[in-house]
Symmetry: D2
Subunit: 378 residues, 4 copies
Amino acid sequence: MAKKIRLGILGGGGDSLIGILHRVASQINDNYEIVGGVFNANFEENIAFAKQIDVPTNRIYKDFDTLIEEEMKLPESERIQVCSILTPNFLHFPMAKKLLDNGFHVICEKPMTTSLEEAKILQEAHKKAGTVFALTHTYTGYPMVREMRERIKAGELGKVHKVDAQYYQGWINTIIHDKAKRSSVWRLDPEKAGISSCMGDIGVHAFNMIEYTTGLQVKSLLCDFNYLYEDNKMDVDGTVLIRLGDHVKGVIRSSQVATGEENGLAITIYGEKAAFKWEQENPNYVYKLSDTEPLQVLKPGHAYNSKLSLDGTKLPPGHPEGIFDSMANIYKGVAKAIRGENYNSGEFPTMLDGVRGMNFIESTVASHKNGNTWVKME
Amino acid sequence: MAKKIRLGILGGGGDSLIGILHRVASQINDNYEIVGGVFNANFEENIAFAKQIDVPTNRIYKDFDTLIEEEMKLPESERIQVCSILTPNFLHFPMAKKLLDNGFHVICEKPMTTSLEEAKILQEAHKKAGTVFALTHTYTGYPMVREMRERIKAGELGKVHKVDAQYYQGWINTIIHDKAKRSSVWRLDPEKAGISSCMGDIGVHAFNMIEYTTGLQVKSLLCDFNYLYEDNKMDVDGTVLIRLGDHVKGVIRSSQVATGEENGLAITIYGEKAAFKWEQENPNYVYKLSDTEPLQVLKPGHAYNSKLSLDGTKLPPGHPEGIFDSMANIYKGVAKAIRGENYNSGEFPTMLDGVRGMNFIESTVASHKNGNTWVKME
Amino acid sequence: MAKKIRLGILGGGGDSLIGILHRVASQINDNYEIVGGVFNANFEENIAFAKQIDVPTNRIYKDFDTLIEEEMKLPESERIQVCSILTPNFLHFPMAKKLLDNGFHVICEKPMTTSLEEAKILQEAHKKAGTVFALTHTYTGYPMVREMRERIKAGELGKVHKVDAQYYQGWINTIIHDKAKRSSVWRLDPEKAGISSCMGDIGVHAFNMIEYTTGLQVKSLLCDFNYLYEDNKMDVDGTVLIRLGDHVKGVIRSSQVATGEENGLAITIYGEKAAFKWEQENPNYVYKLSDTEPLQVLKPGHAYNSKLSLDGTKLPPGHPEGIFDSMANIYKGVAKAIRGENYNSGEFPTMLDGVRGMNFIESTVASHKNGNTWVKME
Amino acid sequence: MAKKIRLGILGGGGDSLIGILHRVASQINDNYEIVGGVFNANFEENIAFAKQIDVPTNRIYKDFDTLIEEEMKLPESERIQVCSILTPNFLHFPMAKKLLDNGFHVICEKPMTTSLEEAKILQEAHKKAGTVFALTHTYTGYPMVREMRERIKAGELGKVHKVDAQYYQGWINTIIHDKAKRSSVWRLDPEKAGISSCMGDIGVHAFNMIEYTTGLQVKSLLCDFNYLYEDNKMDVDGTVLIRLGDHVKGVIRSSQVATGEENGLAITIYGEKAAFKWEQENPNYVYKLSDTEPLQVLKPGHAYNSKLSLDGTKLPPGHPEGIFDSMANIYKGVAKAIRGENYNSGEFPTMLDGVRGMNFIESTVASHKNGNTWVKME
């Protein structure tokens, strides 16, 4: 008999897309109840939004520090158990740190921090806290991504020797070709958006997908960015050569000026015996390629799927589930962990994924600045 | 500022697939709160399930009649406003009728009733009640299905002259070829499952999709069923020739023995100027065919889409939403109607869709029994 | 050591599409040499065309009767061995008959004749002649169509219980909605185009594909045509319910007003154990559907394919071959037969296919005229 | 009135795949007659093969030098006009050189030579000869590849800023993981196969496709190969970062160990206004991507296509043509050039493509050996 977990939300108010994604995901498997939070920096809008989504306003706080202060006064049985951090990127680190330091569980949007240094500090804080920390690399919640992971772990591909991952979007085209626009949007301002646009925002998902599905780690990389214009200081396109072991190589391609691409995350993993191919825009298909056998198309909900995959499907084959369901699977894994139930290592991305991600982003920037040379990821 | 609508659930307890579909759909847009219901005929399981999904047990009733009785004692401001009927088919009619008679809004699973006669009685009850009644033809909630409707209404295809709709599944194969199995499952027992299996369960969705998207009505039909075995009394496959007007013809193909098909609902609508094609298993694509222009692939979330379509998309292009989101769009439309907001005629299927559906099912059975002759749908 | 077979061509001059299809197909496997013929009714154009494609003009005749007369004077070792009949439909029968009566082999375009009666006369003539007769149902030459046939024959689907075939085109839209156009084109004039447009021209291919791949015969049918306009006398759309045995049913859908469809021949065959799906516009893929196993995509040129299929592929997997190669496979089968080599029953369509096709066309017309009633195909 | 061009074939005898590809391609548009050649180094097999494909044996020569000698004795009106060179790679250069020096037209298989140095010598010889020289980058003959070229030239994409090309195969997997096999096959022996396997055999096609469709030239590149095993000396996988101008970047990915890939050549070209995507295994579709408009799928044979594209299609839309037809389009362009007719610069790949290709291959090897540094292509 599961009492719902008390969830607090930081950010995500108004028309926020990430807001609705987390709200819906938290509700999909009947595990969470939103009991409070700080949706918005403006207190009036904050309250108004709480009313709009019909969350009691008594635990809607004027700011994050007040939330911590007030919640800590409540008995543990009433206190918010886990907070979802959906605020602007630079706030992820201080909020996550303070939450962990005060014994809260944390669900954190990506990027985890703004630097590898912060990431390592957070990692330490997490070790001390001993609570659950999850980073929302949403795409790892898709049942067929999980299926790839389980089958690769079981040896279905043999030794993996090549990986090709892509995350292509085109939306920055509508901004970058206009000088006035590109010099004014926060997305292309390093002060506000951090050290990397394309690689930090989306390339890191492709990187994470590789490590998640193969169980391998990127050992070194060489990166070339494209800024498109001399006066633009943020990467909007980049290609990364990667090495994952002796003679195990790969490529990560990432772009925000891949005209007409919508949310084109895709990955192919080639092993000695077979290969898997998956595309985010058609997330319910995994293609198994072989040199000698017919191409197979694996779909969710079938008895031939792994336990981890089936756990992420709610309806029988042929009923398409999407990205809200994928995020819900991550929330489901977190709920299990918070409740101390057994869970599989692949059920949600962890602190380690966050540290690896920041390492990746900083390494790509270093490689590019260094004239496209190899950088080791320790 | 929207106070959540008080929702009661009838049926859908335990591992019920339809249960999770409705629960999730009701929560997706922050419009509903489940305040009570009767999840299960067995009271203990009923209470246990309420606890499991953390719904307060004080308004979980031992049966439907008690629910009506007790809720009517509550002041209107606390009373359940709308009930979702997810019980076995034969209960849809009496429950819906009593709910309407007592002034409740109703969301009813399909089929609305077990006969056209019942459907007409319900239609009368609804007229008297003046409350909102919605039938969950889930697939009409997909943004791209709505996009087809809006564009056809605006004349983009010119005069429609041909329609081809299909609903193919294969799952009855695992039952029907074994004599013992096929004579024991309730699905193939006319006493329990009603007058039609294939056409009543899925063919009617294809029929509804035609009327929903084209705005036309089927005027007459000729049907041929396949029972596969002499001793099987339920249709598991059928083809229906339809006429929608002078020289406007079409076909509905429906099967539960279309081996390997999962949930293969698909529709193509051919007009003088262009055609639209849509497939449920890839619901985020609508194909626009032309004899002279390049094929277009329309996707959700783009500025080129209609208001009705965009209203059903929560994230930007490239983030696949699925069947839970589709059902959520129907719940969203119902919420608008309950709150007395303006809504478009296509936002949820209505009583009329239910009456038309029962008419369709009875007509196919009559045509087949009559030696595959034409039957008029008045 | 194969001396090329001496081929004569009747019709197909100028820009004729069917002309280039047959010419190319005859040359693809180094089996034929075009030595003469009558490309065109106009003798000057006839000669000019022969020069254009560099065929010696000494055996280009002024008409068909002259061709027979002159060729019969030549010693057998020089005489044309086989003629391809590419002339207007009404000439197929008299030409084929005279060729057979004079001991020639024949490759005949479809439809074989203009009536079932003629078809039966031709069948008799063919029995007497003992030469090779091939009807160019081009699509049966595709390697993956052949693969389906071989696998079904080997029992891979178990008992076939349902068939769904489609041949959809849209091109008549550009004609039919204009009254002047539709009353003047020969295609819609029964005097010139025969008793059926849509079913005779393309529906019969779908019919043939069913019988070719399943090895079953259609036993009876019920057909409904659409003429679109009162003053149009030719079917431009039709749906045919078919029965192939006890509880083995299917549907053939054919249209020339399926707006935007190009050459949409497709077939799905459902058996107890699995199903095959194939589409002409992507002819190098066969989909194998199962209720329990992952979807398989079979492609040409792989070791897992049958001998009959592999015989029709010239390059390794991944090198797309198309409709010219498909027709070439039929010519290759005919060459084997002419040379008295062993050949498989599926290597080219025969006289029987022609007779069955005419039977099908006449039966659909009879069924429609009779008020959509069942007609037996004896 | 076109007299067929007298074609000689060098190599391509027996079961040679490249042999049948060229033979069929030469015949498809009625432009060529094979009058002689040297199909095979062994004279008996040479003659036997000529008989098998029914080419007169009187001009089948015992070796290449004899062919030149004997043909030069014939009057120009009888002499072979053009030779297709289908022999092992190291023979391409000497044969092409001698043919050009003697005034023949040449159709040469790829790679044009074994080094850039040879390529430049050949370029000089070609300038002197003034005859037609074509290199068979077969894929540039596909109608939809040509369509991309024409539309990009016309400015439909705006300024191109990113290119992503791939050529993935998996067949070397069946060899390389076995030490005995990989050390014995000629394909992986630098002595026999030249300086590059993966990049020289297939990567260069991707390179050519980029330059062909965009009209841009690669200015510099950085390459990383994968050999998979320490004892393997040939690249079987490689990724190449490329620069085509200021802020115009791209990537070429090429592999022979991309398990399960068949002949996966694909290219996407991103411009400011739109993008084009094309895949060799479905060659009759070009996808036009836009950030604001619906995705378009362009197909061959439509009136909306360019003249160059339409010239390469023989049948109406929906009749798939394949790789034989693509090669035939190149032969068609060569025929026009030999006859002195007007032809478009894109109708066949030229000497310049050959020189660029050898430059590309040598540059990738240099970059890799140099520790993955940038190499300029002058």
